[in-house]
């Protein structure tokens, strides 16, 4: 399962910069980042090398951070590719809380990150539908 780092941030000028600097200083390399925000606060989600160490580094620096399990899917780079994935999940009653996408350096496929209620079952459902689930090793170095 992909271990995503989630960070709680107040909407304060420079707070996101401080967070990324903390990770940079600790030599944590980020692979993907997504910011969800409300008027008062935001949640930053990121895929990075050594996610557990990243959480510790952030907590030591005074940030609220935790690990969330998500799944990553290689979505075929063609029209309807994402719809196929979502339909496979939807037909099994799996609810997607949020999703975001980034393109791997190879450029062959987009990688989509999904947060679903039941990541283990989602994985089984997607494999059965012939959709490629991306293993952690190919995205980041786990710890």
């Amino acid at each position: 399962m992909i271990e995503q780092v989630s960070v709680f941030l107040e909407n304060k000028t420079g707070r996101l910069a401080e967070m990324t600097r903390v990770l940079g200083d600790a030599q944590v390399n980020m692979r993907a980042l997504m910011v969800a925000d409300t008027a008062e606060f935001g949640v930053v989600r990121l895929i990075c090398d050594g996610p557990r160490r990243a959480v510790n580094v952030l907590e030591d620096a005074g940030f609220g951070a935790s690990i969330t399990e998500v799944i990553a899917v290689a979505v075929p780079d063609r029209p309807g590719g994402l719809a196929d994935v979502l339909e496979a999940l939807g037909s099994e009653g799996l609810n997607v809380e949020y999703a975001y996408c980034f393109v791997e350096p190879t450029g062959e496929a987009a990688v989509d990150i999904f947060r679903v209620d039941d990541p283990a079952r989602a994985r089984t459902v997607l494999s059965a539908a012939g959709i490629g689930v991306v293993e952690p090793d190919s995205l980041y170095s786990a710890d």
Binding site: S6, E10, A36, G62, G64
Partner: protein, 434 residues
């Protein structure tokens, strides 16, 4: 019990002792303190007219301003050659007040604090770490003399330097901690950050006071530190710590009634209220020589808990102080005690019991924003769970205070921790509207 002859004295004997000591004290202040003589004379009253404890209700009150205008020694009832110690209030709410102690006062204070520590189960076998500030503040030295009187090994570390406090607690094998409750919570957090679980230490009891705290905070301190946590009460104008203390039953604080007479009054009518009703706490000292106070209005809000306590002490119990008439905020005409907010927060998983109230004006209306820390163990991932948390906190505070408020979730540990009395209210209402 440290002094069972007094602490478990039959009520009739106790009341006879109180009346005798009250008479001596009233005569002493009438003879020696011009302020008291003037108060009696203006009221057309005299110490000799107080023939029963009930007659005390006719004696004029003393307020903080009396002590302020007598700065520094004007209310002392002993010559300076008999005074062996002075302490003073912090002066955060105005001109500082100074209190003086005779040798006898210091002796009695030691006894009373020894009673307090003993009611937390402490004995001569214990090692007591005193993390109250030493100095002009009565907390540090007050507990110190009690701890030595008890015969405990006393560690006079004072406040501050939190990591060193943890190290000392661990290395010295400390068994009893004396601190403000907010500082005790900071000690618990800091220990965990240092990789030390306080529950693994020999620490087994804590005496916490000098600021209002809640029943939920007790649970939290007891769990985090693995101890019995009791509430202690005192104020420098009356003595310092040692005026009242909870026993192991943790159901109200026994007032040391052989040294202090407690009354609860309605702060509006100034008339005594029956036992059980909330009001302002008023104390009369009946053994102090340096600076006795007569019907001193503490501005603390509490009540007498009716009935007797299973511990065997006959002293009546006051409920933990639920706020101060000074701290009381009047928001859109409603009386609000900040301690009510803490009470709510400690009951909600996912938030820390640290908060700050920010009061501003929006047009002519008071606007209340409560900043609340998300707990360090909260799963931060989903906006909807955070929003749900924010709405829950907001609804529960609004329901407890009977006013609508806005809650802002802030990052863990971002609210400043206090190393003394917690500063939790930022009142910007006089600084114009937003």
């Amino acid at each position: 019990m440290f002094q069972p002859d007094f602490e478990a004295m039959p009520r009739t004997d106790l009341e006879a002792l109180q009346l005798e000591r009250l008479g001596t004290t009233l005569e002493r202040v009438y003879e020696r303190v011009p302020t008291y003589r003037a108060k009696f004379d203006e009221a057309g009253s005299h110490p000799a007219s107080v023939r029963s404890l009930a007659d005390l209700a006719n004696v004029p009150f003393t307020v903080k301003d009396d002590l302020r205008s007598a700065y520094p020694y004007g209310m002392f009832a002993a010559p300076m050659r008999d005074i062996v110690r002075v302490h003073s209030s912090s002066g955060t709410t105005g001109q500082v007040t100074v209190v003086g102690y005779t040798k006898g006062d210091i002796e009695r204070w030691g006894d009373l604090m020894a009673r307090t520590l003993a009611s937390a189960g402490a004995t001569a076998d214990d090692i007591v770490q005193i993390s109250y500030g030493y100095g002009l503040f009565t907390g540090g030295l007050g507990v110190h003399y009690g701890s030595e009187r008890l015969g405990a090994a006393t560690v006079p570390i004072s406040g501050g330097n939190t990591k060193r406090q943890i190290q000392v607690m661990k290395d010295f094998g400390v068994t009893v901690l004396a601190a403000t409750p907010s500082y005790a919570l900071l000690l618990a957090e800091t220990a965990l950050e240092m990789g030390i679980d306080p529950r693994d230490l020999p620490l087994r009891a804590g005496v916490f006071g000098a600021e209002p705290w809640s029943e939920n905070m007790r649970t939290q301190l007891e769990e985090a530190l693995g101890i019995l946590a009791i509430d202690i009460y005192g104020l420098s104008e009356v003595l310092g710590p040692g005026v009242a203390s909870e026993c192991e039953c943790k159901d109200g604080l026994h007032v040391n009634e052989d040294h202090f007479i407690i009354e609860i009054i309605d702060p509006a009518t100034l008339l005594p209220v029956p036992d059980g009703e909330m009001g302002e706490v008023v104390f009369t000292t009946i053994t102090k020589e340096g600076i006795p106070v007569i019907r001193y209005r503490t501005r603390d809000i509490s009540r007498i808990i009716p009935g007797t306590c299973p511990c065997g002490r006959t002293f009546r119990r006051m409920q933990r102080v639920s706020g101060r008439t000074d701290d009381m905020l009047i928001i859109r005409g409603v009386n609000v005690f900040p301690s009510q907010i803490e009470q709510v927060l400690t009951g909600i998983p996912g938030v820390a019991p640290h908060y700050q109230v920010v009061l501003t004006k929006r047009g002519s209306l008071d606007h209340v924003e409560v900043h609340v820390e998300v707990g360090p163990d909260f799963a931060f991932d989903e906006i909807k769970t955070l929003e749900h948390l924010r709405r829950r906190v907001s609804a529960e505070i609004a329901s407890a205070l009977a006013i609508s408020i806005e809650v802002k979730l802030v990052e863990p540990k971002s609210i400043q921790r206090s190393e003394g009395k917690a500063k939790r209210v930022l009142d910007l209402r006089s600084e114009g509207s937003e």
